[in-house]
């Protein structure tokens, strides 16, 4: 507990953009086959430092086979909420779940160079207290730390629907399930909210048997992955509306609401449209009658490709699907970055008008049957995936692995973990030649968190002025 609010908590997104820039990034390192332990890499992102662009510290966990994926902070700007007034927490701990093991590590990063494990929550405790498994997205909010899960109970996680559970933000005790009325929600992936307007939006990937062993082509072609987004009364813990994006819109993943809480819209990325292999972005918004609406506002076409160059899974299609696997919105709600993991492209859309996004920039690196090298000449395995934007919107970082078994299906010949960065400046959106992190042998990389918060962490409680 501090006497003053943590200096990394900001009332508005605008103020967060003006705050000092990040010196460190925390990036997931995962062992795809469980041969090694997973960990968190601390990457120096201060261009003035001698170790710029290097992994300067690693927190390696004692277990194997956790499969790290997403993670988040114990506290963020949501602590400045005028309602819950928990302003004196410290942004100090990273909550890192293993999506394969259901184990959760709490990592103390107060001193990034000496980051260490603070507490471990064993899978049995997660199962017993929540009936959920495979914890995934982390957000800090009014009742504590909210954790979305991908699986329900039982060995394969299909005994009951997955959902969200709440953890205490100081003791990290698991308190219990979030939902009081889940409506028709039966799959889960991401969630985020608007705290003052008191709504939450959640999305769907698929159930554990549909992803743990690799993508199930039959399920995909018969549209059995998730294709709905759910709107919740956040504090009443009740699903108030479900929008079906259409069953051909398979895998509605990342939810990115506008950061300014005075706005009532946001975006959701859809991995693939099974009718034409397009990737797409939906804009969702609340209309004048208070009803939620969603409309497809961005489509990205597949690229025709000779079947000989394609992995087994795609040979029959003769094309490379874009595979929109991650999106991220800058704090000024101006640019939406869209990772096309299949094409090997990172798109930058100007979403100043959220109903009419305009492609503003594009970077090519990696990609199926293309494998574009980094501007420094080094290889980039797979394609651009988890993307994170600096608070000031000037630097965009990303890594390359989607999910262990899926990497191997879409890129059977690739291996390796890389993290790169693109600048967004007067020369437009372009890769930085000097920032290229190669991960240790046998480890891949996934989500990135920036010191002091980033564009997919903090929820702001006051409107921009």
């Amino acid at each position: 507990m501090n006497l003053r609010p943590d200096p990394t908590f900001h009332p508005t997104a605008q103020l967060a953009m003006q705050a000092p820039v990040e010196n460190y990034a925390f990036t997931v390192m995962l062992s795809p086959d469980g041969e090694q332990s997973d960990g968190i890499a601390v990457v120096d992102v201060n261009p003035k430092s001698d170790s710029y662009g290097q992994i300067v510290h690693k927190v390696i966990v004692p277990h194997k086979g956790d499969e790290f994926h997403h993670f988040g902070w114990n506290a963020c700007s949501s602590s400045l909420s005028p309602l819950t007034g928990h302003a004196f927490l410290e942004r100090r701990y990273l909550i890192v779940p293993g999506i394969r093991s259901s184990r959760i590590y709490i990592i103390d990063v107060k001193d990034p160079l000496k980051a260490k494990i603070h507490k471990t929550i064993e899978p049995e405790e997660v199962f017993a207290k929540t009936g959920y498994s495979r914890p995934h997205t982390i957000h800090c909010g009014p009742e504590g730390i909210y954790v979305s899960t991908l699986g329900g109970g039982g060995e394969d996680g299909t005994d009951g629907p997955p959902g969200i559970f709440i953890m205490d933000c100081e003791t990290f005790e698991i308190i219990g399930r979030y939902e009081m009325d889940r409506g028709e929600q039966d799959k889960h992936y991401d969630f985020w909210w608007n705290l003052p307007q008191d709504y939450m939006v959640s999305s769907e990937w698929g159930l554990p048997p549909q992803f743990e062993g690799g993508i199930v082509a039959e399920d995909l072609l018969s549209n059995k992955y998730g294709h709905k987004i759910h709107f919740w009364d956040l504090r009443a813990r009740k699903n108030i509306q479900t929008i079906d994006l259409g069953e051909n819109h398979q895998m509605a993943l990342e939810i990115r609401p506008a950061h300014d809480p005075a706005k009532a819209y946001g975006f959701c990325g859809v991995v693939v449209d099974t009718t034409n292999l397009q990737g797409s972005i939906f804009t969702w918004w609340r209309d004048d009658d208070g009803k939620w609406q969603a409309r497809k506002t961005i489509t990205i076409d597949p690229r025709p490709e000779d079947a000989d160059n394609l992995p087994e899974l795609l040979k029959g299609f003769g094309a490379v699907p874009p595979l929109v696997t991650d999106i991220d919105l800058s704090l000024d709600d101006k640019y939406l970055y869209v990772a096309c993991w299949g094409l090997g492209e990172m798109h930058q859309y100007d979403v100043s008008d959220p109903m009419n996004p305009v492609l503003a920039g594009k970077v090519e690196v990696g990609g199926i049957a293309r494998g574009a090298a980094h501007p420094n000449g080094k290889p980039f395995a797979y394609g651009p995936q988890m993307v994170e934007i600096s608070r000031d919107g000037k630097r965009v970082y990303w890594t390359n692995s989607l999910y262990s078994t899926w990497d191997d299906q879409f890129y059977p010949d690739d291996e390796g973990g890389q993290m790169v960065m693109a600048n967004n400046d007067e020369n437009g959106f372009h890769l930085d030649k000097d920032f290229y992190v190669d991960f240790p042998e046998g480890l891949r990389s996934h989500q990135i968190r920036l010191e002091g918060g980033d564009c997919s962490t903090d929820s702001f409680c006051y409107p921009n002025v």
Partner: protein
């Protein structure tokens, strides 16, 4: 208590009127919390012969709450489930959870100054009525003071300083608050014996 809510309300609606409306809602909730605690005590003060016991008891109660808040520094989680639009309810619950009403009890009991009255000749009913009047007065005075102080902060933030000052002026007063409860309790007991 709750002045950042008034700033937030005004910013959302872009209207000064929203700031005032929020302050009124917060004041109503706070006032109700005060009276909810003070009124039962005002009725009990009719039990004149127990007057000293009552004052010592109330003092001990406030001290106990102060110590409880010192040891248990967790924020009440039920406040996180109140809808952002229910400001009066939030204000009522927040005041209850922090013992703001209870804090006034020793002061209020001291104000009743029953010992100066020729209690034996007073109808219990009349005494109760006058004590209830005092209770309401104490609650009004307290709520007015709080609303003025909070309103000044909220207006300062909204009109001149801007939100940058929100995180700069927000101090952790949990310990100070708990200690002040203990202090008020001690004062109540001291004045009773």
């Amino acid at each position: 208590m709750g002045w950042p809510l008034a700033v937030s309300a005004a910013l959302f609606e872009q209207k000064t009127a929203a700031l005032l409306r929020a302050l009124v809602a917060l004041a109503v909730g706070h006032f109700l919390a005060m009276t909810a605690i003070l009124l039962p005590f005002s009725m009990m003060t009719a039990l004149v012969e127990w007057e000293q016991h009552l004052r010592i008891g109330a003092g001990l109660l406030v001290i106990a709450l102060g110590f409880y808040l010192l040891i248990n520094r967790r924020h009440p989680r039920f406040l996180a489930r109140v809808k952002p639009t229910r400001l009066a309810l939030w204000s009522f619950l927040a005041a209850m959870a922090h013992g703001a009403g209870l804090m006034l009890v020793p002061i209020y009991l001291g104000l009743c100054a029953i010992d100066e009255l020729d209690a034996g000749h007073q109808a219990a009913g009349a005494l109760m009525a006058s004590n209830m009047g005092t209770a309401v007065l104490v609650a009004v005075a307290h709520t007015a003071a709080m609303t003025l102080a909070g309103g000044a902060l909220a207006a300062g933030m909204y009109f001149w300083l801007g939100l940058k000052f929100l995180s700069k002026t927000w101090f952790n007063l949990d310990v100070v608050w708990a200690l002040s409860l203990v202090l008020v309790g001690l004062f109540g007991i001291w004045s009773a014996v």
